[in-house]
Amino acid sequence: MEIMNRVYGDMIVVAPTGRIDHATAADFERAVGPLLDAAAGSRGGLIFDLERVSYISSVGLRVLMIASKALRARGARIAVAAMQPVVAEILEICRFSAVVEVFDTVDAALAMSPEAAASRGPAMKAP
């Protein structure tokens, strides 16, 4: 699974690609784990750019739940953005709208942090 990370101010944007299912969820979890401290430490948050994700199963949603618990416990935010219709419907059916904030676009998600919105220009590679 290809996963690209970018930092905008105090927010980290994680952009996985493809299906997040029983075959790939472990890769997804390994990629997200190290970002949690960085996102929580900045008191900003983590945005999952799901534009290029075609499917997410329960094991992938478990990773979002773990991230949500870790970040919210430390006052940071977590959001998903740019979901394909199928993925958006899966999250709705799984009642995840209370677990993560949902935005139509990554820009809209970044707007929840003035610092991130201001640095929307050139991005830096995440740790």
């Binding site: 329960s58 899966i90 059916i93 677990v99």
Partner: protein, 319 residues
């Protein structure tokens, strides 16, 4: 195996419609009838059927009890929740009290909602009947006897005059019982629970309730995919939403409709029946969960279609 009948489908605790809920349904039905022409019996039946299950029906209230109708003359039952009482009455009404019958009863576990029907299971009191009670727990017999001890119940287990036998099954192995191949699987639940896979004449039914799936362990997923493999019907603990099951209700020992769909899809099962409904859910909520589950199956389908149902007291599914 020919058919599955549901006598009790509610999780944790029996529930009943309240008078206020029943009245609200009647108001809905009567309002809808204002503009309808209901001059014939058929028109009335058609109108009622069109009201939808949450108005015209109810998922019901008894705790777990499921009958599997086999090709033999013996009865096969899963769990002895409060649904065992109407099942027992129906069996006696069918045969008469003087006609000895054999009941093979498979216990998922010994929590109260799964055993509370035994004291009210009339066939157990009738000499000549035979009860073979199977389970994976070492405390199987003790737990069923204990609930009838004072001060919990006024009638001792010793008043049950049927021939009652307790048989401990070995998890992970298969047994030939009543012409069926029965495979037992240990499941994640407080104090453990056991799922059962029944196979007979090319038909397969899986009873898997009170079973939590952690999602973090691929080996666990593989075990259940194999256990559900190519089943004609999987009766599945869909008690919680996925969000609840993996957060505030993690380690409560139950699963969700979402995981049911995924496991059945991976296993190539043909029919998923949501079971062990959350007692806090009203009929409209369960109906919405069913609609959501069917939609999820539709948008995530990669192979053949998986039929999805929600169990209710009185439901019959032909195999």
């Amino acid at each position: 195996m020919k058919r599955v009948r549901f006598w009790g489908t509610r999780g944790s605790l029996p529930v009943a419609l309240t008078a206020a809920e029943l009245r609200a349904r009647l108001v809905t039905a009567v309002k809808g009838a204002r503009a309808a022409v209901l001059a014939t019996e058929e028109a009335v039946e058609s109108y009622v059927d069109g009201l939808g299950f949450p108005v015209a029906g109810t998922f019901g209230g008894h705790s777990s009890c499921v009958q599997i109708e086999t090709n033999g003359s013996h009865y096969v039952l899963c769990d002895l929740g409060s649904g065992a009482r109407p099942f027992g009455q129906a069996a006696i009404a069918r045969h008469g009290p003087a006609s000895p019958q054999t009941y093979h009863i498979f216990m998922s576990h010994l929590h109260w909602d799964h055993i509370m029907g035994l004291p009210f299971f009339t066939p157990a009191y009738i000499p000549g009947n035979r009860l073979c009670i199977y389970g994976g727990h070492s405390e199987l017999e003790a737990a069923l006897r204990r609930q009838m001890d004072p001060p919990s119940f006024p009638v001792s287990f010793s008043y049950m005059k049927a021939d009652i036998e307790f048989i401990r099954l070995v998890p992970g192995s298969s047994h030939e019982i009543n012409g069926m191949r029965v495979t037992t699987l240990r499941q994640r639940h407080g104090g453990d629970s056991y799922g059962y896979r029944f196979e007979q004449d090319g038909r397969t039914v899986v009873y898997s309730t009170d079973s939590e799936h952690t999602l973090a362990d691929p080996a666990d997923t593989k075990r259940f995919v194999e256990f559900f493999g190519d089943a004609d019907l999987v009766i599945f603990d869909g008690m919680y939403s996925l969000a609840d099951a993996i957060s505030v209700k993690a380690d409560w020992g139950h699963s969700s409709n979402i995981i049911g769909v995924e496991l059945c899809q991976l296993a190539g099962a043909r029919h998923l029946c949501l079971f062990h409904h959350e007692p806090a859910y009203d009929d409209a909520t369960i109906a919405r969960v069913l609609d959501d589950t069917r939609r999820l199956e539709e948008i995530t389908r990669t192979g053949h279609a998986l039929r999805v149902s929600a169990a209710y007291d009185g439901l019959e599914i032909d195999l």
